[in-house]
């Protein structure tokens, strides 16, 4: 998942907390979210998530009390996600 991040401070732990809070340990195990790329300058991050847990993570981010990130694109390939993140970085942010 390519994300536009709203709040970069302790992003990884906040994402884990959001999944834990809504879906518990089992949900976290099904999703296993991991921040694999972080561009603080352009506020873009790439989150690796297990395929079966993608909706769990998105729902958890929706229901979390803090606005952590906006999903820009979901893709199955890290290489393509990186390319997207670089292209998005070049565009002006809102």
């Amino acid at each position: 998942m390519v994300l536009r991040i709203q709040d970069a401070s302790s992003l990884a732990s906040e994402i884990n907390n959001s999944v834990l809070e809504l879906w518990g340990v089992k949900g976290l195990a099904e999703a296993m979210p991991e921040v694999v790329h972080l561009d603080l300058v352009n506020s873009v991050a790439i989150l690796r998530v297990k395929r079966e847990g993608i909706h769990l993570v998105k729902a958890a981010l929706a229901a979390y009390r803090k606005q952590l990130a906006v999903t820009l694109k979901v893709t199955g390939s890290y290489k393509r996600a990186l390319k997207l993140a670089e292209n998005i970085s070049k565009k002006p942010s809102f």
Partner: protein, 245 residues
């Protein structure tokens, strides 16, 4: 492939600024329901109407469809609600009610002037209510904000309630009556539409149907009500087709 037009039909009008409209557009929404609560409308009716009109104009300029909505979110007497409906039905494109008592829930399901029932845990919906909702083509709305605000046990309660509602609607093949909105009172409550669709998917709805709940269903309601306000729907089931020039 035609692009989906997503609508968030419950965003407080007080928090909608140019920045919020641009943000909604960026995250993928094409339209928003600017909500004025009944408390605000009673205390300053002229200002509320002006606010709605200015938001609609601003939305047009920025490429966002802003629909006006009145939310009756207080525990009012049935007679007072009828008075409000008589006065304001033709001034708002959407009128919703958040029933807090059993009697008001039953009334809201029967009254044809109410478009949406916004449900929260504690609001009981029975089979007869669902039959009325189907008969009068009403909508049932659940909001994301209740999940965001609650603690862990609160979230569990809300999730269980929403699952129950979804189950009841799907059993009667009425998923087309479902709406899912952010219920945002602040910009920080807003979420992108596909995240919201994922939430519905995890509650048991098919993902495509979940996307419809946030796109086609609210768009259809807004368009239908606009036709009614323009006088194109003289009776239920009848629509005057405009002449092609």
């Amino acid at each position: 492939m035609k692009k989906r037009r997503f609508y968030d039909l419950f965003v407080s009008a007080d928090c909608i600024t140019d920045g919020v409209l641009n943000y909604l557009k960026e995250i993928g929404f094409s339209g928003v329901g600017a909500v004025v609560s009944i408390g605000r409308l009673s205390s300053s009716p002229v200002h509320s109407m002006e606010l709605i009109e200015s938001l609609r104009q601003r939305g047009l300029e920025l490429g966002m469809d802003v629909a006006s909505r009145l939310a009756i979110d207080r525990p009012l007497d049935e007679n007072l609600i009828k008075k409000i409906l008589r006065k304001y039905r033709k001034k708002f494109e959407i009128i919703s009610i958040q029933p807090l008592r059993r009697g008001i829930t039953a009334f809201a399901c029967r009254d044809t002037r109410i478009d949406i029932l916004t449900l929260s845990p504690g609001t009981k919906i029975f089979r007869g209510d669902i039959d009325y909702i189907k008969m009068y083509d009403k909508r049932v709305e659940i909001t994301l904000r209740l999940l965001q605000q609650a603690d862990i046990y609160g979230k569990a309660k809300v999730l269980a309630y929403y699952q129950g509602i979804l189950r009841k609607l799907c059993k009667k093949k009425m998923s087309a009556a479902l709406l899912f909105s952010s219920g945002a009172q602040d910009r920080r409550d807003l979420r992108d539409p596909r995240m919201m669709a994922s939430m519905l998917y995890t509650l048991g709805l098919d993902y495509d149907e979940a996307l419809n709940v946030i796109s086609i269903h609210p768009a259809r309601l807004v368009n239908e009500n606009r036709d009614k306000l323009r006088g194109l729907v003289p009776a239920r089931g009848v629509k005057i087709l405009e002449e092609e020039n």
